[in-house]
Amino acid sequence: METGIHISIKAEELFHIGGFPVTNGVLLSFLILLLLGGGALLLRRKLALIPGMLQNLAEWVLEGILSIMDGILGSRYQSERYLPLIATLFLIVLFSNWFGLLPGVGSIVFHGEETSPLFRAPSSDLNFTLALALITVITVNILGVVAIGAGSHIKKFLNFRSPLAFFTGILEFISECARIISFSFRLFGNIFAGEVLLTVVSFLLPYVVPVPFFFLEVFVGFIQAFIFAMLALVFTGMAVQEHQHS
């Protein structure tokens, strides 16, 4: 039995497939893909005008996301247009956060080149959060170009009409880059910190005491998923609207 606390800021490599390494974080995110995708396929076959329990749940979640989006984007048409991106971001982040709390994640070890946990919450792996952040920022810019045209979109960053406009354009560009960092490190930091916290508490006082911390982390997991999707939504909303000329 291993003694001491196992904390690694990196996701540990388990094995290679082709030239690609498979880490415990990638493994769990693949499992989440299987679960959500499989669930969607299963539900697709059972979709009916009179909804079953699973369909009710899915409709309730989608309806909730849509109503929040309505408030920010202004119309149901716009909301439905950007729903796939926002809802998928929310779901994948939520499940990544919560799956890190499942028993077995972190405690089941894999004996490869070195002994390491078999599963790791994807969102406590910077690769996952950075990938999502990059996808979000790039997609938001593409959506902006599609919605208002390349010219007016680029004008947000490169504007020679006045020195002030030029300066705010540069600031805008910097903030766009900063978003990638803030998106990825906010999520990674919160979830990784939560895992470290749980590991430490469980190591020091293994019984009963960790329970409130688990509740806390469930809550944090939801909040972080909500924040991630919400920010992506707000940035999308800003990108698809014409820049307001003051």
């Binding site: 800021i9 974080g25 995110s29 969607a40 439905e80 998928t88 910077l126 999502l132 990059l134």
Partner: protein
Amino acid sequence: MSELLQQLGIDWRLLLSQAVNFGLLLAILSFFLYKPLLQLMKEREKRIKEGLTKAEEADAHLKDAQTLKVQKLKEAEAEALTVLRQAEARAKTHEAKLLEAAKQKEAEALAQAKRLAEAEREETRRETRREAAALVKEALIKTVELNPKAVDEALIAKAVTHIYEGTRSYENTKK
């Protein structure tokens, strides 16, 4: 920079794996969950709206039908009343005619009866006269047999006339 990235465990291959993972999930959820589910929800909304409008229409139809029913009932009642009145009027004229005919017949019958009675009375009177004549004749024959020379036709005639008038006055008093 690259050392920092390595320290944080960032690897472009891992990034790519996660990105592909997300892309796959996005595609699957879009095609198998969001699209059909949204369509379904819209369809349901449409159906419910349709149902509501249909219910309203049905209510309106029902109201129309009820007013129509009341109207028809009224019309039918009025018609029945007129028919009844006409029938009554016709019956009355018919009755009057019948009554008239009956009266006429009655009058005719009465007249006939009177005539018959008159004829009978006449017959009776004639019979009486004949009998009286015979009686007087016999009486006279008897008298003549007693006294053959004293036959006087004029006397007989006088006597017959006298008897005739006697019976007549007798009947008149009896009447």
